[in-house]
């Protein structure tokens, strides 16, 4: 009975997460149609004006519409988080597969490189790379990919090692399946589900990191509408217009909560073996 209630809760969490993420994706996709005004349009005559019908969340210190910038920021944040995740997977999956499947000396060498990267605090290493390349959004994204591939590659390798021990792999080997066939047909397919779960759990922290370093001025540069940049811009107006720092933070928290709930839901569904 208790177990059932637990499952019901988890399902509820999953659906809350899925609707937040779904909503955010829709907002991101249809951003140009949803924005009440141009997020880049500077109008100093109406700077820092309070919420009104034309500007539902008021305007920022440059007289730009806060709501429009939030909506445009949804697109920025989601797009670049997915981009980083995609690039990380593109690098880490083949490397992890190679290390796990080949084993032996190849595995040993790849793992030493991974250990080297993982010895650094990840945020600090990406901060340094982004800083050395010069503050800009593409450099920041590159820095994240250069640092984060290692952790994923290690996880993928672990998954492959687990799958390699399965009976169906032994059976396939006995049938004389080629290495390519083995990796493509048996290993990737079985590793895909846990990797998807992991990716959905991690996308929230990618989003947090991109906004965090943009907040420090190392990522998206003004005037790009991005939540971290908006938060940073609001700092100087904390006394006069505290509402400016409320909305971007709330947006980040909501979307990250959505991704975390979705990931947790997928994970527990995966554990229960629900398809």
């Amino acid at each position: 009975m208790k177990k059932q209630a637990e499952n019901a809760w988890q399902k509820a969490f999953f659906w809350i997460g899925a609707s937040i993420v779904g909503g955010a994706v829709l907002i991101g996709l249809f951003a140009p149609y949803l924005m009440p005004s141009d997020p880049y349009l500077i109008r100093l005559d109406i700077r820092l004006s309070p919420p009104s019908l034309a500007y539902p969340l008021g305007t920022d210190p440059m007289g730009r519409c806060v709501l429009s910038r939030l909506i445009a920021g949804t697109r920025t944040s989601l797009f670049y988080s997915v981009l980083v995740l995609g690039a990380v997977l593109l690098i880490s999956v083949p490397i992890g597969l190679l290390a796990g499947y080949a084993g032996g000396r190849t595995d040993h060498m790849i793992m030493r490189v991974i250990d080297m990267v993982l010895a650094f605090p990840s945020l600090i290493l990406s901060l340094a790379i982004a800083g050395l390349l010069g503050p800009s959004l593409p450099n920041l994204l590159l820095a994240f990919v250069l640092v984060w591939w290692a952790g994923y590659a290690r996880i993928v390798r672990g998954l492959v090692l687990q799958i390699k021990e399965m009976d169906y792999i032994r059976a396939a080997r006995a049938c004389g399946t080629s290495h390519w066939q083995m990796v493509l047909r048996h290993i990737i397919r079985n590793a895909a589900r846990p990797m998807l779960v992991l990716a959905s759990l991690e996308i929230g922290s990618i989003l947090l990191s991109i906004s965090g370093l943009s907040f420090l001025g190392l990522g998206a540069q003004p005037p790009i509408p991005e939540w971290g940049v908006m938060l940073n811009d609001s700092r100087a107006y904390m006394q006069t217009a505290p509402r400016l720092m409320l909305f971007p933070g709330l947006a980040i928290m909501t979307v990250v909560t959505g991704f975390n709930l979705l990931g947790e839901g997928l994970r527990s569904a995966d554990r229960r073996g629900v398809r």
Partner: protein, 329 residues
């Protein structure tokens, strides 16, 4: 008597094993440190442009090709890479990380002089973390499924999604600007550390609450708890002294992993609160294009994290009787 005899020989054996383990673990750290040095050395190469030219340009004058060539020779940039690496490593081992372009001081000295502030912040964050997570975690485990457990569960989700930089701003606004209980920024007395340390610890608090809760629930189901209760020990003793001790072991391991998160998070927190630590120094260096400082900072932080993890691993072994007794490793 016999028991005491056995105990003594055991503890001697245990300490020999401990030393063996510590040496083993120390040796394992060497290739990691080597890797760290390689990456830190390589980092300076990702900077766009010629380091010699950048160094000369920091005065704001377009350097002549002769001057660049002279600096290249002086810095040893014409030598093969492995020679450059060797020289660099030799200097770093002697705590010489070069001179900061912007301040003209030794990078190693600047880093060391700022590190205590960061350590103070991190240690305060750990204290706040324990003050927050221990009672809530224990209560969640004791009243499993109750309202406190449910609230803590929701709080965990929020704490994981709360951006530290936003929380910091909110705390400054409500704690320092509106009610003026705390200084807005800077490091000045005990009250100044509370807001930044709370900001730093909040994001992790949730994980620890859940960890303490699961550990305690697990421990409470063990036979030694049953026997402790059967002996008529008070519930506070059973939980406080028997169960909690075992529940806290995974917390220690996690702490080793989280210490690097703590240092990473400190970068943002120090910048928001103008805390005179090593993280703010690094961010300032990035905007001043002070590459030696950035390189030194990364190297220093990685070495600190490796050292802390080493201490955590050894400490874990010393605390856990099962590991001490168990295998030879």
């Amino acid at each position: 008597m016999l028991l005491r005899c056995y105990k003594n020989s055991y503890s001697e054996w245990g300490s020999v094993m401990m030393i063996k383990y510590a040496v083993q673990r120390l040796l394992q750290a060497i290739p990691v440190l080597f890797g760290i040095s390689l990456i830190s050395f390589g980092l300076i190469r990702v900077t766009p442009g010629d380091p010699a030219e950048i160094m000369l340009r920091s005065d704001g004058i377009q350097p002549s090709p002769e001057a660049v060539a002279a600096i290249r020779a002086q810095l040893g940039l014409d030598e093969p890479l492995f020679m450059q690496y060797g020289r660099w490593l030799w200097r770093v081992l002697h705590l010489d990380m070069g001179i900061s372009f912007s301040s003209g001081h030794s990078v190693a000295e600047e880093l060391l002089s700022r590190f205590p502030a960061t350590l103070y912040l991190a240690a305060s964050a750990v204290v706040i973390l324990l003050i927050l997570a221990l009672p809530v975690g224990i209560a969640s485990a004791m009243f499993r499924g109750g309202w406190i457990d449910r609230i803590s569960r929701a709080a965990v989700i929020i704490s994981a999604a709360m951006p530290g930089y936003w929380l910091g701003l909110l705390l400054i606004y409500y704690g320092a600007v509106k009610v003026r209980w705390f200084p807005v920024t800077g490091m000045d007395g005990y009250s100044s550390v509370l807001l930044p340390a709370f900001t730093l610890s909040f994001g992790m608090a949730g994980t620890y609450v859940r960890l303490i809760r699961t550990g305690l629930i697990d421990a409470l189901g063990q036979n030694y708890i049953l026997s402790a209760r059967a002996r008529g020990l008070r519930e506070t003793v059973v939980i406080g002294s028997h169960a909690l001790r075992n529940a806290l072991l995974p917390v220690i391991t996690l702490f080793g992993i989280h210490f690097s998160h703590l240092l990473g998070g400190a970068v943002i927190v120090e910048t928001i609160f103008a805390w005179p630590g090593i993280g703010k120094y690094a961010v300032d260096a990035i905007f001043a294009k002070d590459y030696r400082v950035i390189q030194g900072y990364v190297l220093f932080m990685a070495v600190v994290v490796v050292t802390v993890n080493l201490l955590v691993d050894i400490g874990y072994k010393m605390l856990d009787p099962r590991i001490r007794l168990g295998s030879s490793a």
